[in-house]
């Protein structure tokens, strides 16, 4: 007789495997697309380790396209996992780093660093700010907003109220950034505005190392919190009676979410809607709320979605590049609207 119990997880494992292959394929595909036209065959040759007739093409692929695709991969993972954690902890299907203002918090952190410190203290360009400092500033900014939302959610349980407060906190952070922009010098302002439009392509090879390490740490903490997140599905009361220490649980999620959302925002600017949408796609595809499956599922779907967004933003065939957060918004918002309409009783 077929053991249903064993068959079902196996099916989910297959889904995850197929997703992994898909992400790998998208990653490779992303390397073929860019504003400089490189023939497919040449790209293949360069990737295979061969010498190209144009040495600049090698540079473009190794120094620009691979870091960009890696960044898309990492950003997708990080934003999706932090979205998944927030949705479970706040028991809110519309929670995510962007909507709850966590990304705006990160922007504030970066703005204080880039516009504030550099213009008044160092009189230096933003390029001279260390990568680690940038991550730290963004993560502190995220943590600040997240802390506010945690504090509020202890008293207020209503899903929509918390969302609105998150949006308000985010707006305050954005307003403060706006004020700082007003007082900063032109060159810094320009680099900040470019940053705030979101980009996967401005990241250097060195920054990739920093981003990879930080996101790896964040993901490790998240994967370690799978059991806690599963218990929190039933709400905090039930989690307590199952033996969970709520304060520890919140601290773990708080830490990993701040690191993940903060570091991505530090290097790529605020990227919206990936964090909300991907966990839902994961639940629909895997038909489960077990974080043991949802966590890897979100990692894969998130990186896949970011790679697709990146390819679209490159506008294949043209030399122009669209801001990445416009693409994620255009892809993500219809899905969110669909989720809201499908789940009419979302506020319950």
């Amino acid at each position: 007789m077929i053991d249903l119990r064993r068959l079902k997880p196996a099916k989910k494992m297959w889904t995850l495997l197929v997703l992994s292959i898909l992400v790998l394929f998208l990653f490779l595909l992303d390397l073929f697309i860019g504003s400089v036209k490189i023939p497919v065959f040449e790209t293949l040759k360069i990737l295979a380790g061969g010498n190209s007739s144009h040495t600049e093409w090698e540079v473009i692929i190794f120094s620009f396209r691979i870091p960009r695709a890696l960044t898309a991969l990492l950003a997708g993972m990080a934003l999706s996992v932090s979205g998944l954690q927030m949705q479970t902890v706040f028991r809110n299907p519309l929670a995510g780093p962007y909507v709850l203002g966590i990304s705006s918090g990160a922007s504030l952190g970066v703005a204080i660093l880039v516009l504030g410190f550099s213009s008044f203290l160092f009189k230096a360009s933003s390029n001279m700010i260390g990568d680690w400092t940038l991550v730290l500033a963004a993560s502190f900014g995220s943590a600040l907003i997240l802390l506010l939302i945690f504090a509020v959610s202890v008293r207020i349980k209503d899903i929509m109220t918390i969302l609105i407060l998150g949006i308000l906190f985010g707006s305050i952070a954005s307003a403060m950034v706006g004020v700082m922009q007003f007082f900063s010098n032109e060159s810094l302002l320009k680099s900040f505005v470019v940053w705030s439009m979101g980009s996967l392509g401005n990241i250097t090879k060195d920054q990739i190392h920093v981003l990879s390490i930080v996101i790896l740490i964040g993901l490790l903490i998240s994967f370690g919190s799978v059991k806690i997140l599963n218990a929190l599905l039933l709400g905090e009361d039930y989690a307590k009676t199952l033996g969970i220490n709520i304060k520890t649980a919140r601290a773990i999620v708080f830490l990993s979410t701040s690191i993940l959302a903060g570091s991505v925002t530090a290097f790529c600017g605020p990227i919206g809607f990936v964090g909300i949408v991907v966990p839902h796609l994961g639940r629909m595809l895997l038909r489960t709320s077990n974080h043991g499956f949802l966590m890897p599922g979100s990692v894969l779907i998130g990186s896949g979605l970011m790679l697709i967004s990146d390819m679209i933003s490159q506008l294949p065939g043209s030399e122009k590049i669209l801001p990445i957060n416009s693409i994620t918004a255009l892809l993500g918002i219809p899905i969110i609207i669909w989720i809201i309409i499908k789940r009419k009783r979302i506020t319950q």
Binding site: K8, V226, A231, L234, D237, T241, G243, N245, S289
Partner: protein, 336 residues
């Protein structure tokens, strides 16, 4: 064995309520609660809305702090347990409706194994056995892979109970497990609790279905404005205690039927002549209308004679002035 060893849960002079920040007075709901539950007992807690049933239950499972007094679980003050230790000793089902999407019955029940799994939450064969066994105990084996959104309210409540069963605790505490359920499902859940207590679980639950539980439970904890009264349901009946459950209500506990009745004003007497079911149900309908059926026909102001003729039932109503005949109780009632 000393006397206290037999009790799995006792409260000593417990005061429940809401703790306020320093400087503001605490809100006390009830003081001096001293109740006991033996191993394997099914205990129903009753009391009117707002008297603190949920607060007491939440205090018993440490989701709510006690204002004063103690809760003793297995001879140890409950505050001395860590959350993990407590999770292996008592299971809790609240009134909260779980709305997690894409959560299957199996996954829900699997969460009960939480206190026994490692930090990754890996489930081994022993856990799987417990999960399946718990699902079978609540008779949901055919729904084990269904999502919580796809099953009925009664089934969801049974699944929540199965979750506490897989948690493998000696004590179960449930807050209004029969609320929001239709009558058959209430019976199902109650019978399930009865069966589980026969298997050795101690079960404490709050309910408003006194009529339903009165002949099923071992003990009743009755929260009244005067304090907590405990005892076998029969003890409470004989001591007329039930009439103090709902102060200010005109509900009267009928000692003979073991039910709460709503007393209509019985001004008139009626004599009902007839046999079997026809007579019994006619009497019932007349009672609802405020008439008191009496045995002797002589003094009654009105009398009803119910009889069968050619397979059709007839009700002959005789008053001082007139005699009329009806073909249904509804018509008879309408003419009164």
């Amino acid at each position: 064995m000393s006397d206290t060893n037999k009790f799995i849960l006792t409260t000593r002079d417990l005061e429940i309520g809401f703790l306020k920040p320093p400087g503001k007075p605490n809100i006390s709901l009830m003081k001096g609660i001293s109740v006991k539950a033996r191993k394997g007992e099914l205990v129903a807690m009753i009391g009117q809305n707002g008297i603190g049933k949920s607060t007491l239950l939440r205090t018993l499972v440490q989701l709510h702090p006690a204002l004063s007094g103690n809760v003793i679980l297995n001879n140890k003050n409950i505050e001395k347990y860590t959350r993990q230790e407590l999770a292996r000793q008592l299971g809790f089902v609240s009134t909260e409706i779980i709305n997690a999407g894409n959560l299957s019955v199996y996954d829900l029940v699997a969460l009960g194994r939480f206190p026994y799994t490692n930090w990754l939450g890996n489930i081994n064969n022993e856990d799987r056995f417990m999960i399946d066994h718990s699902i079978e105990l609540v008779d949901l084996a055919h729904k084990r892979d269904k999502m919580l959104t796809e099953i009925s309210d009664g089934e969801r409540q049974r699944a929540m109970i199965a979750r506490t069963l897989s948690q493998d605790t000696d004590l179960l505490i449930l807050d209004e497990p029969t609320a929001f359920l239709d009558l058959p499902n209430r019976y199902e859940v109650l019978k399930l609790l009865r069966d589980l207590s026969c298997k050795g679980k101690t079960i404490i639950f709050s309910t408003h279905d006194l009529n339903l539980v009165i002949d099923q439970v071992d003990k009743i904890w009755m929260m009244t404005e005067g304090g907590m009264i405990e005892g076998a349901p029969e003890d409470l009946i004989l001591s007329d205690s039930f009439n103090s459950v709902f102060p200010g209500s005109s509900l009267i506990f009928n000692k003979e039927s073991g039910r709460f009745d709503y007393p209509a004003d019985r001004l008139h007497e009626v004599y009902i002549e007839g046999e079997g079911e026809l007579k019994a149900w006619t009497a019932k309908a007349m009672e609802r209308k405020g008439y008191l059926p009496i045995e002797k026909g002589g003094n009654a102001e009105i009398s009803v004679k119910v009889y069968m003729d050619n397979g059709q039932a007839y009700w002959e109503l005789k008053t001082k002035n007139a005699i009329s005949v009806y073909k249904s109780i509804y018509e008879l009632m309408f003419s009164l």
